[in-house]
């Protein structure tokens, strides 16, 4: 009976291990394409200015390791946008950062679409005319101080920005990991607003 118990335990363990065999997300594809999103840097920011973030990338992207461009529009079965997020923080006392909230109405949206609150959910919207995804929106700067921007609000990335396709139905979701040199080692873009 002791041998039987051992055998039962071993087979049960094997069965339980098999339960995880199918865990995963098989509609997701990840690729790396650098510099798709940028902070529009300027020398001086003053109260009343907007801090602009922009993205303008073709549906045909060079993909490392492949000789042909990747058609991200076709890959996503015609996704009408790519979503990414970012947040603004202001230094309220030395080393203490506090999120800066705004509203969708207060954002200055030139291209793409935005949902704003304690963070900005940005969508680079597909423009069929020039076959590209575009986003260009300004965040209002209402107070003096030191600011920092992070793109890691909905991800674990620090110096990378994650863009996810707005894929419909059960089609393929494309996640683009876009490295950028604009962020520091902690994943922040720093700037100062003066009067």
């Amino acid at each position: 009976m002791k041998k039987f118990t051992h055998l039962a335990i071993a087979l049960s363990a094997l069965f339980l291990a098999s339960c995880d065999d199918e865990d995963g997300f098989y509609n997701e594809k990840y690729i790396d394409v650098p510099n798709l999103v940028q902070v529009e840097a300027q020398d001086v920011y003053q109260v009343g200015d907007n801090m602009y973030i922009f993205a303008d990338f073709s549906r045909y992207l060079d993909e490392p390791g492949f000789s042909t461009p990747l058609d991200i529009f076709k890959t996503t079965s015609g996704a009408q946008g790519f979503v990414f997020s970012y947040t603004f923080e202001r230094e309220v006392s030395p080393g203490v950062w506090q999120p800066v909230s705004t509203t969708t109405q207060e954002m200055h949206v030139v291209n793409g679409s935005v949902q704003a609150g304690s963070f900005v959910l940005a969508t680079a919207v597909y423009d069929a005319t020039d076959e590209s995804y575009e986003y260009y929106a300004g965040f209002p700067l209402d107070a003096v101080g030191n600011y920092r921007i992070s793109f890691g609000v909905n991800s674990d990335s620090t110096n990378e920005i994650e863009l996810r396709s707005k894929t419909q139905g059960n089609n393929l979701f494309l996640n683009i990991i876009s490295g950028t040199s604009q962020l520091d080692n902690s994943g922040f873009y720093h700037f100062t607003v003066t009067n």
Partner: protein
């Protein structure tokens, strides 16, 4: 497929060899056939699981389980990308050895070979001449998984069987497409005649 057929023949040979034993048999043992359905798989996994078992005069028995998907859950999970395989059918010849002398309730061990098949999905990069694109590719798979199980069976009224079974097998064909492990778990209700 060749290995699968050879395995079936070996198992059948062992089982038939045991059929020649004879002794005084009780009300359960005198009934040599049993059919079962797996209530657990049907409710929990949407899989219809039907088994037949033939008992020898000794401690051995042998049989066949047929399993196929009847519910939408697996298919929905497959389409939504939560699983890479969609098992569609399973045919399992098995041979069992009873671990005790009682016919009314006993533990048993089982060796089986699962012939299983279904759909497999993966993401491939394709070319349309000038550009590449990723697509979801779906293909069939067929594999064979030798495995083992343990179980407990109890009879009510010398004919109604309740059986719990747990086991697993490893697929050895089409391993890049088929599931690595085939689980065999069931809560079976049966009738012995």
């Amino acid at each position: 497929m060749k290995h699968f057929l050879v395995g079936c023949l070996l198992l059948s040979g062992i089982a038939f060899a045991q059929d020649t034993e004879s002794k005084n048999e009780g009300p359960v043992a005198s009934k040599k056939n049993e059919v079962r359905i797996d209530a657990l798989s049907l409710i929990a996994f949407g899989k219809a699981n039907i088994s037949y078992e033939r008992f020898t005069s000794g401690k051995w028995s042998y049989g066949l389980t047929g399993s196929f998907t009847v519910g939408d859950k697996f298919e929905e999970d497959f389409d939504e990308g939560y699983r890479s395989t969609l098992p569609k059918f399973e045919i399992i010849p098995y041979v069992r050895y009873k671990m005790s002398d009682s016919d009314a309730h006993y533990y048993f061990i089982e060796g089986f070979i699962s012939a299983n098949g279904g759909d497999f999905r993966q993401i491939l990069r394709a070319e349309d001449g000038t550009n590449g694109y990723y697509m979801i590719s779906k293909e069939d798979y067929f594999s064979v998984a030798p495995g083992a199980s343990v179980g407990y069976k109890v009879y009510f009224g010398h004919a109604v069987a309740l059986e719990f079974l747990v086991g697993a097998g490893l697929n050895i064909m089409d391993t890049d497409k088929s599931p690595d492990v085939i689980s065999r778990i069931g809560l079976n209700l049966g009738y012995r005649f």
